[in-house]
């Protein structure tokens, strides 16, 4: 087990290096930060001085090596746009994104799994058909459109919920939370639905397909033959065995929720990391972009690791397989 974790962490290093190399190489195409920092009036001498200051006159490999060297020490430099330390900026924005991702994930699980079980059990009921049609909407409508529709209905027409921002937040140490104020909770609702809708429908369809598969298997028939109540058969035996693929997908999707909250955050002006990233792209703020991409890579690698560990907990076959391999 311990060896397994170590090997996965070692595998992660080349992944992270590759991600940072690719992202670093892409920055050559996002534009020239110098042009933006100088503004409308400058001289050639000022321009050259700034290029030197930022180290942009160095060859690519030197710049990259310097970036990796600093990143290992947790140094990501100063944001060109905001003149503030990148690590501090990301730490400041992370709570907003994580709270939003958490709500979206809880929402999609809490609604998606029961809906999936229901539609798997009662395939032909009108409610199942409604859920399936509804899930098509969730899968096919782009996120920004869902967000804008929700804003139009709940903020502009009904005036129930705020159209942007996080509401009032409470500072607990370095963590700023929106869970403790009424306006903060209200502000979470629309973005969470927008961000979670796709995952919700995905989970629902996955659980439904897996349930239908499992319900056909022999051990369910035996369980029924033993006279076990439906509840035990459905949830104790069937649902548990659908969970391996569900955990994989949910895990990876959680990474996706954090990483791709960009669109939702932009629509709702949610002050998280995704919005920070988009604003940085607009002005070629390379330190922020590279740090963000690296962080997202770390998030994915970590989630993958956790998912692998969860398999152990859920699927006894894996444990036995490993055990045999050891003998």
């Amino acid at each position: 087990m311990f060896a397994f974790v170590i090997s996965r962490i070692l595998q992660a290093i080349p992944v992270l290096l590759t991600v940072s190399l690719i992202s670093f190489a892409m920055f050559a195409y996002v534009g020239d930060p110098v042009a933006i920092m100088l503004g409308q009036d400058f001289t050639e001498a000022q321009r050259d001085a700034l290029v030197r200051d930022l180290g942009l006159d160095q060859p690519f490999w030197v710049q990259f090596a310097e970036f990796v060297g600093n990143a290992v020490q947790g140094q990501f430099g100063l944001s060109y746009r905001l003149s503030r330390p990148v690590a501090e900026l990301i730490a400041e924005r992370a709570p907003a994104t994580l709270e939003l991702a958490f709500c979206a994930a809880v929402l999609s699980l809490a609604i998606g799994v029961p809906m999936g079980v229901y539609t798997g059990l009662y395939r032909n009921s009108w409610l199942s058909r409604f859920f399936l049609t509804f899930s098509l909407v969730g899968v096919s409508l782009p996120t920004f459109l869902i967000g804008i529709l929700l804003i139009l209905v709940f903020a502009v027409w009904l005036g129930w919920l705020p159209s942007f921002g996080r509401g009032d937040t409470v500072q607990i140490g370095w963590w700023s939370t929106g869970f403790l104020t009424w306006s903060g909770i209200k502000a979470l609702i629309l973005p969470s639905i927008t961000l979670g809708l796709f995952q919700l429908t995905l989970i629902m369809r996955l659980v439904r397909a897996e349930m239908m598969e499992v319900l056909r298997s022999d051990y369910i028939k035996f369980a029924r033959a033993r006279g076990l109540p439906n509840r035990v058969v459905h949830f104790g035996h069937a649902l548990k065995n659908t969970l391996v693929p569900v955990i994989t997908i949910v895990g990876l999707q959680l990474g996706a929720i954090i990483a791709f909250a960009i669109v939702t955050e932009t629509v709702f002006q949610w002050p998280g990391m995704g919005l920070l990233f988009i604003q940085s792209v607009g002005v070629a703020d390379i330190p922020v972009m590279s740090a963000y991409l690296l962080l997202i890579a770390v998030v994915f690698v970590t989630i993958n690791l956790i998912v692998d560990l969860l398999y152990y907990a859920v699927d006894p076959r894996l444990r036995i397989g490993r055990g045999k391999g050891g003998h």
């Binding site: 534009g31 042009a35 001289t43 700034l50 503030r84 330390p85 942007f164 932009t266 002006q269």
Partner: protein, 528 residues
Amino acid sequence: MRKLLMAAALAMGLCAGWAAEAQTVRWSASGDPNTMDPHSQNVGTVTMVLQQIYDTLIARNQDLGLAPGLATRWEQVEPTRWRFWLRDGVTFHEGQAFAAEDVVFSVTRAQQPTSNYAIYVDTIDRAVQVEPLVVDVITTVADPILPNKIASLMIMSRSWSEAHNATRPQNTRAREEMFTTRNANGTGAFRLQTREPDVRTVLVRNRDWWGWREPASREANIQEIIYRPISSDATRVAALLSGEVDFVLDPPLQDLNRLRAAPNIKVTEGPEVRTIFLAMDVYRDELLYSDVRGRNPFKDLRVRQALYQAIDIQAIHRTVMRGQSVVTGTFFPPQVNGYSQEEDVRLPYDQARARQLLAEAGYPNGFEVTLDCPNNRYINDEQICQAVAAMWTRVGVRTRLNAMPLAPFFAKIQRDDTSVYLLGWGVPTLDALYSFQSLLRSRDGGQGNGIWNYGRYSNARMDELIGIMVNQSGAPRDAAIREALRIYREDIPHIPLHHQMIPWAMRANFTIPHMANNQPYFRWARMN
């Protein structure tokens, strides 16, 4: 009697509560200021907040004319020496008394190489204190428009800046954040209370501000300004419609009709001091992005004229800009000193003439060219370029459109890596020299000369006239500007399109004078 008193007290309490709330203006625009440092970033999103906090020696009135600010009067005592008499009894928000040393300090600070405000102090040699409330600004050449430039120079407290180790505007080499990135201490009408970058900036009224006694500010009643950026257009409009925001500085054009129709919302509009034009590479012997080999068609005046006359500017005005533009034949608007109505005449739209001119120039079958265009910098920039490309293609100049976000766009044109491009130009000094010098003067390495002249236009007579604008005043200077404008019209270094119009959208109970520099001045605003 007691009942009556209680009722009155209650009513007063209610009124006071209501009034205090009503005098908070919640304001939004797409971008957030990058910094609170007044000499670091010379861009509209920064100054729109900082000019509420910091005063300048010379202020602007509602027509953008010059008015007394921290200086009550000023005079050119010698050709290279301007004298400023400072206002007495002014204090900074944190209590420091304002005096001549603060002015000397601020001028020096803006002159630092890391300042983005060098254009306003480019002719200044140094500032010296004459008396505690009298300052002389000594220039390297006689500078007739120094007051126009000084009007953009915000004054900081010397002791405050020194105490917080902020005597330089910005230091990219430093690994640490500057104190002034998130803190401000001015003498202005509003004081910075909260600064959360990209989230919220709160300003509160400075009751001691000298300007509240001025006639223009007597009716002003804003107690608190809450600025929250919203980058998504649709969300910003929704926030205004739902009443979460009182004032939107940059409503998207496509939503204007909807906003006008909405109850409790009004849209005010006026021209902005920003002109949109197309500039061509008139320097290279062969264009980088064209199929013409061995020669550069843009060097031929007839080709430039043909492209000019191929543009149906009224169609762009009507359909692309939805009426929100002022069509022009020159490259700065009437608010700018030096503007001349007679020189603001367009060549008529005439496709047949354009084809004929192309044939005369030796391109009867036209040619191919790529138009570089930003897609997120000016109002409807990409759509303007699409229209122009179609119009040029119609007369035979097959135009490929290369539209991109501002970051790669400016990087590309600043390498002179373009054959023809669209640019919008604002004039912060409100004097013609700024536009001539940056856009049309030959690039000879002199400070500011031709730094935005990416077509590398060069005309000896033009350079000579710009030289006169730099160091002469009065009639000879006016004559030079006039002649230069005529050359602009006849030699076609650019194809001018229009001045941008800027709409502001707000709730009906909020009033603020519309300003051509696209800057809201809350010192003149009122919430009913």
